[in-house]
Subunit: 135 residues, 3 copies
Amino acid sequence: MNEELIIQTPGQGLIDITGKLVSLVNASECQHGLCTVFVTHTSASLTIQENADPSARRDLENWLNRLVPENDDLYSHTTEGADDMPAHIKAILTATSISIPVMNGRLGLGTWQGLYLWEHRRSAHRRRLLVHLGA
Amino acid sequence: MNEELIIQTPGQGLIDITGKLVSLVNASECQHGLCTVFVTHTSASLTIQENADPSARRDLENWLNRLVPENDDLYSHTTEGADDMPAHIKAILTATSISIPVMNGRLGLGTWQGLYLWEHRRSAHRRRLLVHLGA
Amino acid sequence: MNEELIIQTPGQGLIDITGKLVSLVNASECQHGLCTVFVTHTSASLTIQENADPSARRDLENWLNRLVPENDDLYSHTTEGADDMPAHIKAILTATSISIPVMNGRLGLGTWQGLYLWEHRRSAHRRRLLVHLGA
């Protein structure tokens, strides 16, 4: 089964999409299988991170923003805005696809794991994800 | 087929889990398919690296420790210990899931590839991995 | 279905393999499924990046070369050449496997996405990739 998931992002940040994925898995009645999420963009990505303390996600963002700053003299690809090239770099350092086993009808995330869509552009974007559920 | 794999780590470092994965694939009698490994934690991760010279893995660790040091003033998420926030960051820079094709009954790793569980916390941990084997 | 894909690289750089993957998917007559690409080496990797402006890929390379330079005093694994240890580090920061859903017989890449084999060694190499196509 393949499904499309449209996520409206408010701009840079980690957006929790765990609930949407759990709903898809529940609706599918899949008992044992593999759930793969794929993001169809090159300036947004996926990550699995702690779902408890929001300070962990804030630190992640600040750390990655410091590692990949805007207005770096190295960039030649600047026509799409100061946040575009950093967004591409952040995307390659994180994940474009993540696969999570489904066991006994439940998405196999750990207790403290959440799945996040990471918007790397400053402005709001409509992001299209593909979800595959296989046996 | 889904299996759980429990790995006891001795603290920070790369733990070779190739043998355990090969055993699972052999026991399954799968001839052609896809083997996916998923780690259910946010302070440990997966990586495929050279299985020959141990100095390569030592350099990897030292390099990542330098890129993501403890006690960075940027961190606000510090209540779980000085090694916790670096562990989360290292996890997002490496992999939470990896998929390896199975061909002719053999896990398709290259000659020099090993699969490693990367423990990012200083203390010993019990880590739970999920392995999916599909057609 | 599993296939082997041999790519001859001219040395360091991003090699577009989207066309080869699309051909495999088309030939398979798969309508809905999941296509997984796996690279069997530890000094080359995979990435999905913008397929439009080549300056984005050039900046990616330059940025990663600056983050992971050759001749870093930290390296002890130097017998295979100055570009070997940086190649291993770059491989763990990017992807060894990527999974892309197939929908209505089409590989589900976004409009601006291309799939690239990233050669991290300076000299030409023969790289072996495995492609799995499942339901």
